[in-house]
């Protein structure tokens, strides 16, 4: 199975500032991020012939092209799942480049997710697709996902304090990141435990990701072409996604799989990546792990084999995910600490780590995993 092993590259990354009120349109955010990514790569709008975003992104491709000055596009695609599919965007882009369908593909995601449509707020709008959930009160992501995380907690005897230990690390990393909303604002475990319940006994406020305004974009092209561009080479060693019908009827969550104390979809993605790239957990120098809520970091650490089942709490408590640990995680602060740009900002941090430009730089980072549950990718530096 080919996973684009090193043949495609992330040649440029761009973003707007991350805020709670951008003061401008989502199309403008997308346009600014795309222009920034192209400039970073040393390319121009005329070089772009492919566009990839998420099905839920509000920005129309043609409108974006008109705004940025992209003239002719011959490849577009959109990934399902929202943030869980954020890494699949790179898979789509790489597939287009590897097949020759496009040469320079821009992945983008931009929204006013705090000042306009807030993901964390329930909507009372009846929705036929949510008949099995909404009437019973599952009307926010926090509630929906907690019903899954709770099984993990009870299976392994975890408490909310265990999740807090992750949050403290994420906020510590964010505190050193000028790009993060929570720059210079670390927390203690006591702060975490003092924050109010959102879903008891699983999530407190500080376990929840932010709601953010902002845009992120990146440029994917062939490694051959990227070598001649402006930035140090960052290869896409592998990118994949998974959908498991056996795991449930809804793409966003899983209430029906055989064992909800285990992230089956993430494990499926992990096995594809390890087999497809020949790499193993021990080869990964840092990991950017999507966290809409803190518990999903635990489930992914286990699903990817960084620790055994039920061992993530101990793995985190022992300091493995901190700078200087065996697997620094979310060195930008994650979606809790930096911003919630639907997981695509995690890939930018992965790129910074390979380039050696992160504010929380991991020494000689050569392989970085970016995981989002249902999709994941590994970035490399082009050296075997």
């Amino acid at each position: 199975m080919s996973l684009f092993k090193g043949h495609t590259a992330v040649a440029g990354v761009g973003q707007t500032e991350f805020s709670k009120d951008s003061g401008r349109s989502e199309l403008q955010l997308a346009s600014e991020a795309v222009r920034a990514a192209l400039a970073d790569a040393g390319l121009g709008p005329a070089d772009v012939d492919g566009l990839v975003t998420m099905t839920v992104d509000p920005n129309d491709e043609l409108s974006l092209m008109r705004s940025v000055g992209i003239r002719e596009v011959r490849w577009t695609s959109r990934t399902p799942f929202g943030g869980g599919g954020s890494k699949a965007m790179l898979q789509h882009a790489a597939a287009a480049v590897a097949s020759g369908a496009a040469d320079v593909v821009v992945c983008f995601r931009a929204f006013n997710e705090r000042s306009a449509t807030r993901f964390g707020q329930p909507t009372k709008q009846p929705n036929p697709a949510w008949n099995w959930y909404k009437p019973f009160g599952l009307d926010t992501p926090a509630k929906v996902y907690s019903l899954w995380y709770q099984r993990y907690m009870t299976t392994y005897g975890l408490t909310n304090e265990d999740f807090g230990r992750y949050t403290v690390v994420a906020r510590k990393h964010a505190a050193n990141n000028p790009n993060a909303w929570f720059y210079t604002r670390p927390i203690t475990l006591a702060d975490h435990q003092a924050s109010r319940w959102v879903v008891e006994p699983i999530l407190r406020l500080l376990d929840c990701c932010q709601e953010s305004d902002g845009g992120v974009a990146m440029v994917v092209t062939s490694t051959e072409r990227a070598r001649d561009l402006r930035q140090p080479l960052v290869t896409l060693e592998g990118a994949t996604q998974t959908h498991l019908s056996s795991a449930g009827d809804n793409t966003m969550f899983n209430f029906y799989g055989p064992d909800l104390a285990w992230f089956e979809e993430a494990n499926f993605v992990a096995r594809q990546l390890w087999e497809g790239t020949g790499l193993a957990p021990g080869d990964i120098d840092a990991a950017m792990i999507y966290e809409n809520f803190s518990p999903v970091v635990f489930l992914q650490l286990e699903a990817f084999g960084f620790c055994g089942r039920g061992e993530a709490a101990g793995f985190i408590a022992d300091g493995h995910i901190e700078l200087g640990g065996t697997l620094p995680v979310n060195t930008h602060g994650g979606l809790l600490g930096e911003a919630y740009i639907h997981g695509l900002n995690n890939v930018i941090e992965g790129v910074r780590q390979i380039r050696g430009t992160s504010v929380n730089q991991v020494r000689r980072a050569a392989r970085v995993l970016c995981a989002a549950g249902h999709s994941a990718l590994i970035l490399g530096n082009g050296e075997a």
Binding site: R196, F255, Y256
Partner: protein, 165 residues
């Protein structure tokens, strides 16, 4: 129906607590009100809501291979049949997972317990748990179904079976 198997104190559900919290939330100007969002039954799940309106908990089983699926899909994933038969479920099961919502959409004094119940037929169903102190809910707790009208919407609601609470 298994209503007679429920602890007598919870056999009849009242919606007063929900109404009360709704009023409070509205007064506070919250844009989040814990009033039930009604289902919008369609061709694939209308049988379930018809059953609920009649006080029955119904499941859908493949007419060809008897595969029971919940939530249902229009085609049997096991044999490809599009013929289904509706059956009465026993309405008993055990708690697989649960949450107590403290979301700002719900005032803290009236949290709603959402539970994932594993029915004795082997399928899981999202529902609400009532008639038990949240602190006493445990994985594996035996529960049975009842029906309650909340803000005009009838919903299946589970409560501990006798001797369980």
């Amino acid at each position: 129906m298994p209503l007679d198997r429920l602890a007598s104190s919870v056999a009849v559900f009242h919606s007063k607590c929900y109404e009360g919290s709704c009023k409070r939330a509205e007064k506070e100007g919250a844009y989040l009100v814990p009033r039930v969002t009604p289902p919008v039954p369609g061709r694939d799940d209308g049988y379930f809501w018809d059953g609920v309106a009649a006080g029955r908990l119904l499941g859908r089983r493949c007419a060809a291979c008897s595969y029971l699926q919940h939530p249902p899909s229009p085609m049997c994933p096991r044999c490809g049949s599009v013929d289904w038969e509706v059956i009465d479920l026993a309405g008993t099961g055990s708690v697989y997972s649960w949450i107590i919502s403290r979301h700002p959409s719900q005032p803290d004094d009236e949290p709603r317990v959402v539970a994932l119940v594993e029915l004795d037929e082997g399928v899981r169903m999202v529902t609400n748990l009532r008639g038990i102190e949240p602190a006493r809910i445990r994985t594996g707790l035996r529960v049975g179904v009842g029906f309650a009208e909340i803000d005009g919407t009838t919903l299946p609601q589970f409560a501990p079976l006798e001797g369980q609470s």
